[in-house]
Amino acid sequence: MDIPELILTMACYLAATASFVGFLLTSRESLHRAGSVLLAVGFGVHLVAIGVRSIEGGRLAATTLHEALSLLSCIIVGAYLALQGRFKLAVIGAFVAPLAFIVTLSAVLFYSGVQDLPRTLNTVWLPAHIAPALLGYAILAVAFCVSIAYLLQERQLKAKRRGGLLQRLPPLETLDHLNYRFMVWGFSLFTLAIVTGALLAKTAWGEFWSWEPVQVWSVITWVLYALLLQSRTIGWRGRLAARLTIVGFAVLVLSFFSVNFVFPGKHGGHFG
């Protein structure tokens, strides 16, 4: 049972959200620091929650929807914490923290007990599939947050509003570059996850490709992201790129859930 830890994690993420939003509105540096600290504390508690669950199941908790969501939000926060110093992300926490809260909340809502893993899935390809998939999702989620910040900042500039918000959000060009960079990383990992997923399918079910709903959705999402990255070369940058990133992320979320509920195939129940 990892629910108590997850509730505490959610409380931290929620408090971090409040701090970051407070910082955006008032520019109090102390709130900004508090937000980062709360997020880091939440991350720590989250690791404990995942540890508890993993010990309970005897392997890394990443195979049910509940576990995958929990791990995903943990990675989102971890990715943000790791990237924030290097890229001076700072205020992006205002968007990452609530996202992490929502993903953790859905993990709690989709709670399920520890399930035994079918022996067929228990191969080396399982972690090789799960790791890049979740990391890819997490980075694309951060790209999504960066895009929201871009659209906000762009609106401030166009509307000639000179609120504190404009001062505290990073420059447009920075956000656009970050978006592109994270998209490339996320896309690469996503590609890797599809390849290892196919290899996993081969060892588990005997064939690389069986037009499973998850495979179809993944390919749709992959093609979408590929087009999106390609479109940069014809100048689809800035606002357009930010909007497309948000659309891409929406499709990603949709495929993530629809795979498990709407079209439960072999993959359903065992999310990976």
């Binding site: 500039l157 000639k160 504190g164 420059p171 060009e173 920075t174 100048g235 940058r237």
Partner: protein, 441 residues
């Protein structure tokens, strides 16, 4: 015995620039000026601040009025000329008001443009110079250090200085919100004018790498290009070079827009939709207002920039109120320290501190020695009291010595710090606290 702080001087608030110029003391004359200042019989410590916006002397003395007269005399004869209507430009602050004045000046609350930070550096320079010439003592030393830390606090806790308040700096600020870095960017200056040249200068000073200038009179474009180290292009051909420009400043006298959406559409395609920032400083406007509706194009005209500045000035005014409250707190804390620099309350506080230690230790010992007789107890009581008095005798004599020299304040301050008496609030000390700040008759 009590020292008072006074400030005598004139600033942009009280005197026109002609008068300030006459009173100003040049760098080279400073050493001589300090000698003349300290020769005055009522001035003990002094710091001379001479900038283009203010000339003032912060000094301490035993008698505020006499010291103020001395300093006024000093300022009047500074460059050995008589100054007409000098007195009416002069302000004199004493005690708390003098402290507040110095703290406000350091925090840039008394500046022409509130929040502009140059004054703090000038103040630090003035103080360092005074200190190196031996013109400062314990009081001004602490006053200036406190004023610097107050200014630092104001900058850290308010956003008073973080907003642009000129058209040129507002333009740079906006460019920084669009572009990640300015070093690899190119600015194009279409037309010429005081404001647009200032904006170009600001952009270049903030890192913009290249400048292209164009003008209907090509010679003028060449002139500007030479001045800014840029490249001139003939006016008829500037649209062809527009794709190189990330920031475009317009200030021609044209009646019709010189840059249209159709033109920019084409240019954007050529530059692969890299963002462009148009700054229109002319009336009638040079750039079609519809440019702002295009993706990756940001257009600010003169009214937009003025609007930005207005908002920033309001913001500064709001922040200034916050800053005033911070200054109040710091002034109070400084005055408390200054007030405590009095021999009598310091002695009282010191005795009290030692006595309380003696009492506490004695009570503890007596509590564990219940078998002692009344006489033995009295003897212990007397002995401990005698030890304390003997120890205190020499320091208290030293504190009671009334010398005119700087030493006295130094020792009082030392005692306060060594025995941690700064924050003690005994009634006796309290009554003495405000005394040195009161105006004397």
């Amino acid at each position: 015995m009590n020292r008072e702080i006074i400030v005598v001087g004139l600033s942009h608030r009280t005197a026109p620039v002609e008068t300030r110029e006459q009173v100003a003391i040049a760098e080279a004359e400073m050493a001589a000026a300090y000698r003349r200042l300290l020769e005055r019989s009522h001035v003990e410590e002094g710091v001379i601040v001479s900038t283009c916006n203010r000339v003032e002397v912060i000094a301490t003395g035993q008698h505020a009025d006499a010291a103020a007269t001395d300093v006024a005399e000093f300022l009047r004869t500074s460059p050995d000329t008589e100054i007409e209507g000098f007195e009416e430009h002069l302000y004199v602050h004493r005690g708390v008001e003098a402290v507040r004045h110095v703290f406000r000046v350091a925090s840039s609350l008394d500046s022409m443009v509130v929040g502009e930070p140059q004054i703090l550096g000038q103040l630090k320079e003035s103080y360092t110079r005074a200190a190196s010439l031996g013109a400062t003592g314990t009081v001004l030393h602490r006053l200036f250090h406190k004023s610097f830390s107050t200014a630092k606090r104001v900058r850290a806790e308010t956003t008073i200085a973080s907003r642009a308040v000129s058209v040129a700096s507002a333009a740079v600020d906006l460019a920084r919100k669009i572009f990640e870095k300015l070093e690899d960017k190119t600015a194009m200056l279409i037309g010429a004018g005081q404001m647009s040249e200032l904006a170009a200068r600001h952009l270049l000073a903030n890192g913009v790498g290249n400048l292209i200038s164009t003008n209907r009179t090509f010679e003028r474009a060449v002139e500007l290009a030479r001045e800014f180290g840029g490249t001139p292009v003939p006016f008829e051909q500037f649209p062809r070079y527009l794709r190189l420009a990330d920031v475009v400043i317009g200030s021609t006298a044209a009646e019709e827009p010189v840059v249209t959406p159709a033109m920019v559409q084409e240019v954007l395609r050529e530059r692969n939709q890299q963002p462009m920032f148009f700054i229109d400083l002319s009336v009638p406007r040079n750039f079609d207002p519809r440019l702002n509706e295009m993706a990756n194009v940001y257009l600010y005209d003169i009214d937009d920039l003025e609007g930005v500045i207005e908002v920033n000035l309001e913001e500064r005014a709001r922040e200034a109120e916050k800053a005033e409250r911070l200054v109040d707190v710091e002034v109070e804390s400084f005055c408390r320290w200054l007030g405590s620099l009095n021999a009598v309350p310091t002695i009282v506080a010191l005795r009290r501190r030692i006595e309380s230690i003696r009492r506490a230790e004695l009570d503890r010992t007596l509590a564990s020695l219940r078998e002692l007789s009344e006489r033995e107890r009295d003897a212990l009581e007397a002995m401990t009291a005698a030890i304390c008095n003997k120890i205190l005798h020499a320091p208290i004599c030293k504190l009671k010595e009334r010398g005119d020299d700087e030493d006295e304040v130094f020792y009082i301050d030392a005692v306060l710090r060594l025995f941690d008496l700064d924050d003690e609030e005994p009634g006796a000390a309290k009554s003495g606290k405000v005394t040195p700040l009161r105006k004397r008759g």
